[in-house]
Structure formats: structure tokens, C-alpha cells
Symmetry: C2
Subunit: 348 residues, 2 copies
């Protein structure tokens, strides 16, 4: 779909590395006062004054993390930024800068990279972050994207994974499992396309779940909302590998256990109907789906009244002592041990 068969397209080699960087980044504007210097020197310069700086990075590889046969490059650029910002928000911090490094093979014309960067630029505008550096090089095969995100917060505002205490409430934002189901729909359509390239899929009923897969949003609003509600979570993590995996991370690092209630898991109606269509268990999808980029956090019980009316937040369980283990309490009121079956990027 993005093979360079149109010879009128611009070859990357015509621009060279520095010309390419200039061309791709010329529309980016500096928005953050913490950015002293962006692209153009040996390093970016940032000034966080008395605040603490948070730093996180992700590496995305074509054929492992994304499939360009159904992921538009603009969406990919947007998503690549968003998944990094999600980690900054999961520290209860403000995201302010990113660096973007890409490696591309010759099959990518300039127009493909322009599409990718237009997605990155859209995310930068919407989330109010500055692109301050990166690297651009060739690859032997495919597209590689490495993004580092930076943010800041006052020391006392930062929320770690390790602060959950017994009896705290376990809260999740948004709903679960939709991104995974969106991927299943896209994979199915790819197979249909292979058999009959002329088929015109009607995906209207899947709009929400496909958008959750192709164009997820990070919860920039949650640190702001929690501040407005005067709630400081005791621990927080973002949900990238599936709820189960993240509950286990949070409990392990806090030396606690947890009970998660199956009946409390927030599911969009499209998730329920699509699970039925695909003959999937919606609880399994919610627990292990991954790529939701929602936030999972714990609060003290006394803060419950402050959050209970909020439609963005769902209490899904509570923290127990470590010896009680990490369990899912089913609708039949049985407690089963929670295991991480999320996506593993290191596999055969």
C-alpha cells in the first residue's frame, strides 16, 4: 500500500538527512515554556525550574507493533506519540516534550514520511507538546519509530506504582478491551481482502473499537481532573499490556494483593456485541486485551465520595494484603487467581 511504485514521488535520498529533518519538522511550533531549545543543536535544552522531570521511551517496529497494510501512517504517527504520553500521565505529570527517531527503508517515499509526521504534529498540537529532537536514518527493512517523552511535575504531585495500600480502592478510567477488538476486526478484514480485493467492508458498526485501535487517546485529562477533585492517587500505572498485567505490576511493586470484580469491569456496548460476534469472552478481552491506554490507579477509601459521580472513573476493586493474592472475583462470586496473559513482545 505504501510501496513506492509512483516514480514521481520524492526519493528520501534527494533531501539527505538534514534536509529531511528540516522538511519534516518545519511546521512544528514550540509551545512549552520549559523548552529552551528544540531541534538544531547537539541536544535539546529544557528548564524545569524546581520541578522534577519524568522520562519514558518506546520502540515501535513494523511487523511487530504495527501492520502498514491497514494502519494509515498518519494514525501511526499520532498513536506512537500518544502511547508515550500515556506513560507520562501515569506518573500524574504534565507531558511537555518528545524526541522522535525514525529509520526507513528505500520503499518509503517522502510523502509517506510526511503522512507519518502530520500525525505526530497533530498529536503534538492536541496534547500541547514540543518536538525537540530525534534522529533520522535508513533501515534495511521496514519502518522503526523510537519516541522519548518528557514531562514534569512538582515532587509531591508525582504518583508511583509502588504506593498502593491495603483497603485502597482500585479505579480505572474509560472502558476496556475495545482496542484489542478493533485489532481483531482489522485483521479479519485483511484476510477478507486477501481472498477478494474488491470487497467493500462495512465497518460502521465497529467505528468505536477501530478508532480505539488506530487512534487511541492518552488520558491527559486525568491528572488535571484528579487535581480539580483534590484526589491524589496512592499509585498509578497506564494500561498498555492489558488490565491483568497492570494490576499485577502495581500490586507487585506495592507489595499488596487485590480483588478485582468481574461485574465492575467497564465495557462499551460495542465491545460486548463484538465479543459475541467473535465468540470471545468479554471479561477475558477486558483483562488481557491491551492497548487501551487508560489509567489504573488506587485511592484512599475516604476519597471515594469525590470520584463516585464521575463517568470517567470506575471503581473495579480494592487492595488487599499481599498474602491474599491478586484475584478476580467472578459474577458467580468465585475468586480466581489473576494471571498476566497480555501481549508479549519477546516471543518466538
Amino acid at each position: 500500500m505504501i510501496e513506492d511504485k509512483n516514480t514521481s514521488k520524492t526519493q528520501l535520498s534527494d533531501l539527505g538527512e538534514f534536509g529531511l529533518i528540516d522538511h519534516l519538522t518545519k511546521n512544528f511550533k514550540i509551545q512549552q515554556e520549559t523548552t529552551v531549545l528544540g531541534i538544531g543543536d547537539d541536544a535539546a535544552v529544557l528548564d524545569f525550574k524546581q520541578k522534577q522531570c519524568v522520562l519514558t521511551t518506546d520502540l515501535l517496529i513494523e511487523g511487530i507493533h504495527f501492520d502498514l497494510s491497514y494502519v494509515p501512517l498518519k494514525h501511526l504517527g499520532y498513536k506512537a506519540v500518544v502511547v508515550n504520553l500515556s506513560d507520562v500521565y501515569a506518573m500524574n505529570a504534565k507531558a511537555t516534550q518528545i524526541t522522535v527517531s525514525i529509520a526507513v527503508s528505500n520503499r518509503f517515499p517522502l510523502e509517506a514520511l510526511e503522512a507519518l509526521y502530520s500525525g505526530i504534529e497533530t498529536a503534538a498540537k492536541i496534547y500541547g507538546i514540543d518536538l525537540v529532537g530525534g534522529d533520522t536514518t535508513s533501515s534495511t527493512t521496514g519502518l522503526i519509530i523510537s519516541i522519548t517523552a518528557v514531562g514534569h511535575a512538582n515532587q509531591e504531585e508525582l504518583v508511583y506504582r509502588s504506593g498502593a495500600k491495603e483497603n485502597d480502592l482500585l479505579v480505572v478510567t474509560g472502558d476496556l478491551g475495545a482496542a484489542y477488538l478493533g485489532l481483531q476486526v482489522l485483521e479479519r478484514e485483511k484476510e477478507v481482502f486477501k481472498v477478494n480485493p474488491n470487497s467493500q467492508p462495512d465497518l460502521d458498526q465497529y467505528t468505536y473499537i477501530i478508532e480505539r485501535q488506530l487512534k487511541p487517546e492518552a488520558r491527559k485529562d486525568i491528572p488535571q481532573l484528579l487535581k480539580a477533585l483534590e484526589v491524589k492517587p496512592t499509585s498509578m500505572i497506564d494500561i498498555s499490556d492489558g488490565l491483568s498485567s497492570e494490576v499485577i505490576h502495581l500490586c507487585t511493586q506495592s507489595n499488596v494483593g487485590a480483588n478485582v470484580y468481574e461485574e465492575k469491569l467497564p465495557l462499551d456496548p460495542t465491545v460486548i456485541s463484538t465479543c459475541e460476534e467473535f465468540k470471545l469472552n468479554s471479561t477475558t478481552v477486558a483483562l488481557n486485551g491491551g492497548e487501551d491506554y487508560e489509567l489504573l490507579f488506587t485511592i484512599r477509601q475516604e476519597d471515594f465520595p469525590k470520584i463516585k459521580a464521575n463517568p470517567n472513573l470506575t471503581v473495579i476493586g480494592h487492595i488487599t494484603d499481599q498474602d491474599s493474592g491478586i484475584g478476580l472475583v467472578t459474577r458467580a462470586n468465585e475468586k480466581i487467581r489473576m494471571t498476566a496473559q497480555g501481549w508479549n513482545p519477546i516471543k518466538e
Copy 2:
């Protein structure tokens, strides 16, 4: 050379992503007081107090930036760190943290990654920096390394590319061209090996230039030396793509011209003798070789007495007005226009 033919070696999939990260990073110690939290949460937390933070990143791809048929993985890990630190020192800043992301295909056993990380660890110890994050994933082919380096400095200590003024002296650290020649020797030996795998090369005479290629050092000492000498450069850049390319960058960003004197270019005796052997022009090699990771900077003329006795520093020219252009003054006293013929990672 690193194909996993020995079935007793450990498959990466046996460990999983989090097990792998734990295993590879367990020996790394936090050394910097600016590191509040390293690996293990959604993001690292750093505290630079009143100092400004510098941030730089590089992406290294097997088959483009390195050839594992003659680059030992431990050396590669070391070099990958060093080339990023070089950019931090080029801001006249102190390097303090790195993140390391890697993607590997199945042909890499655990032992290969252990070798890579032992090089990273050695660099971290020698340069006194903390590994505070990263990402570990699969690739469809080959090894990909993405490193982000962080450092800090007082605002008034930072040196940008843009500060060079007319009549400033142009100074380079160390010597030039050796890393490029080391690569030529290694490439030649690879060809010999293809023809006769039993040949035992005697590379003793090339020790210096091969080490400059395989195990370069970043000039951590230079910001410290300049501080001790009470010299603040007016501009600075690191030499990764060749002297010509970096002189042009520095002049372009400072809106000035420069004269560089051929007879002043610092060359190691091994560079001169190897150039003769390879029938290469040593000036061309010094100007365009790349990967020297020395620093190029400008100082006010009045600071010359403070640096002139120092064997680490060579004055190679001076800054002129912009209209005079950027030229090389040859031994025959002809001025020729300097062009950047350095390595271009975006090519056919």
C-alpha cells in the same frame, strides 16, 4: 558469528520482556544524585534542581550503522552509549542518565544481549551515568538500538552551535580521521576472510585506528578541562559526521564563515601511514572521515594563551565574516570551498 546454532543457549522467549529487562539491568547501579527513580515505573524521575536539562537521542541499525561480522557486541554496547554522551558534552554539560531501547530478532540468544549490556554497563561505570529506562522488543530482522542521553548544566555554562563570532579561534580536540581508517582496515579484513577464512590477520600496527572505530571515547574531560582553564567556548559541536560537515553546521548556525588550515589538522602517525598504504589523501580523511567523536569549538582570541600549551587542543583556524565563506586553506596557501562529504545515513 552470533547466529544461535548452539541449542544450549538461552532463548529470549524463555524470559519474556520484563524478565529480560530485569536480567539485563540487574547489575546497573544508580550513581547520580539527580536520579530520583530509574527503571521500574511508567517513567524515570529526574531532579535537576535549578539546572537546565539537555536531551539527545540516536538510533543505530544493524546493517546501516554497524556490521556484527567484525563488531563485537560488547564494543557495540559501549560505543552506542559513548556516541550519545558525546552530544551531551558538546553542549558543555555533564552527562548523567541514559535510556536504552533494543529490538532483536530470534537469532540473538540471551548471551548476545548479555554481551551488549556488559558494554553498556562498562560505559555507564566509566562515564558515571545511570541507566534509567528503555524498551525491549522483537525485531523482524537484526538488532536495533535506540539510546537517549540526558545531562545538565547551569544555564550560563551551556554552549550552543550558534555563538561563534568573527575572529574567534576554531579549536579541535584530539586527532582526526582515525575512526574512518579503522573501518577501512576492518572492511578489508572482512573481504580477506571471505576469500580465505583461515587467514590470521596481523592488525597490531592498526591498534590505534581500530580502537578509535570499535571503542571510541567521548570527551567527558573537555567540559571539565575548559572549566579548569576558565575558558568558555563561544560555540561547540561534536564531530560525528566529519570535520567539514561540523564546521559547516557551526558556521551556518552562527551566521559566520571560517578558514581552516590544512597544515594545522591534527593527525596521528598511524593515520598518515595507513593513508599512504590505502592510497588515500590524509586531509580528505581528516575532513570527511566521521565517527571521531572529538569536539570542535570556538574561543575568543584573548583566551588563546589559556589553551595553547594543552596537548588535547589544536587551533585549526579562525572564524571570518559570513560573506568570506567556509574555506580550507591548503598547504599551497590556496583557499578552497569546504563541502560536507561526510557519511549520509539517508541514501540509496
